[in-house]
Amino acid sequence: MGKTTPLYECHVKAQAKLVDFAGWDMPLHYGSQLQEHLYVRESAGVFDVSHMTIVDVTGKDTAAFLRYLLANNVDKLSAGKALYTCMLNHQGGIIDDLIVYKMADDFFRLVVNSATHDKDIAWITQEAECYAVHLKERTDLAILAIQGPGISKKLSELFPTIDAAMIAELKPFHAHRMDEWFIARTGYTGEDGFEIMLPLHDAPAFWQKILKTGIMPCGLGARDTLRLEAGLNLYGADMDENVTPFESNLTWTVALEPKERHFIGREALEKQLQQGVLQQLVGLVLEGQGVLRNHQKVRINGSGEGYVTSGSFSPTLKKGIALARVPANMSGLCEVDIRGKYVAAQIVKPPFVRHGKKTF
């Protein structure tokens, strides 16, 4: 048996199909991944993502340390705001992608992937050595993501009146604090929604409260197809330490200005820009029927080859879709090797779906 979240018993009672995810027993689905996916696009779903790692960074050097550690610039943040960023190695390769929240001038919160927990903690600890900062992993907090166009109507049933009003007013990537609770307008589905960090002991009761409002419990299966439709990368599939943000459709997350900000990986990225970025991460939409799968080979007019990094079936579009790494500047049509047969696919710029609608 793996590690479990405080909602494990709730998942078992709800007859979730549990799978191992990075050493955690997590719900894959509660009956039908497709139904859960479509319900989030049309209404509202809740995901237990308590397996993700929260690290609080405090101390007088916190901002300076994060300016050095992260490829995006935390100086863009005011208190209560969040930023998506990569954490790079010295070669510009992606160690992980994460969200950083500014809680106060000398207090930031990082939420990193669970599959990369050990190496992330080791890297952050090592790089923090020369800074007056304190790192604290928040294993005492659970994370629930409530996502979907119907969420905003449920807030008054979930939170005290005054807080609910403030949460309803939050702009994307803004957050609201209620003592040990932390509610941010963020997510991984391409829909409106919130990610809620709360004490472990509060999680089961709040989970039940969420379900009582008609929000559907959703597993990691639907989370994966939702994020793929939304064109959001998955660490370990669409990016890793061998590729840079420029090769991963994440150029927008790298803050090269101001020029004097020295961050880990900067030199390597500047060198790559000078020499030219040779590959890119694009979206693929299968022209015919079928399903795209990770690692399938992509061929473009005989002039180059690439591969699918995340492939699946889009429940919203009813088509095979994928993210794929292909030579730079390729566009138009390509062919994907599906079990020995080459099938035509269109190269598009992700996302595929945004707020329930086709976007390409």
Binding site: K17, L28, H29, S32, Q33, L34, Q35, G221, T225, Q289, G290, V291, R293, S312, F313, P315, G320, R339
Partner: protein, 129 residues
């Protein structure tokens, strides 16, 4: 525990076979559909094609994975379930009924390689651990 009807025969690779007069209907078991999850795409054999026992003859794909279907007997394909092309989830909803895959007229009636319901149930139970 998944549903294993007593009136059918089974293959080790999770297909079921039902004899209807001189034709055999083939599908995938409740256990197989449950392991695969929501099905989203099905590739069926061409009608009138000849299949050998154990030959890869169809593909069923869920959101999660693709699975090959191995023909559980030798014979000629006489009918395919075209409804699945539009509605692959019929396999999830009714694996032994509306979710059938294709029908085969066998070259002979020998389907010795197939498992009884008890044997198949035992195999499923042993795979679970």
């Amino acid at each position: 525990m998944s549903n294993v009807p007593k009136t059918l025969k089974y293959s080790k690779t999770h297909e079921w076979v039902r004899k209807d007069d001189d034709v055999f209907t083939v599908g995938i078991t409740d256990h197989a559909q449950c392991m695969l999850g929501d099905l989203v795409y099905v590739e069926l054999p061409e009608p009138e094609i000849t299949l050998e026992f154990g030959q890869e003859c169809a593909v069923v794909e869920s959101v999660k994975a693709a699975a090959d279907i191995y023909c559980p007997l030798s014979g000629e394909v006489v009918e395919i379930n075209e409804a699945l092309l539009e509605h692959p989830q019929l396999i999830n909803q009714d694996p032994y009924g509306k979710g059938w895959l294709f029908r085969v007229r066998p070259f002979d009636n020998a389907s010795n390689e197939l498992l009884t319901p008890a044997e198949y149930s035992k195999q499923v139970a042993s795979e679970a651990h």
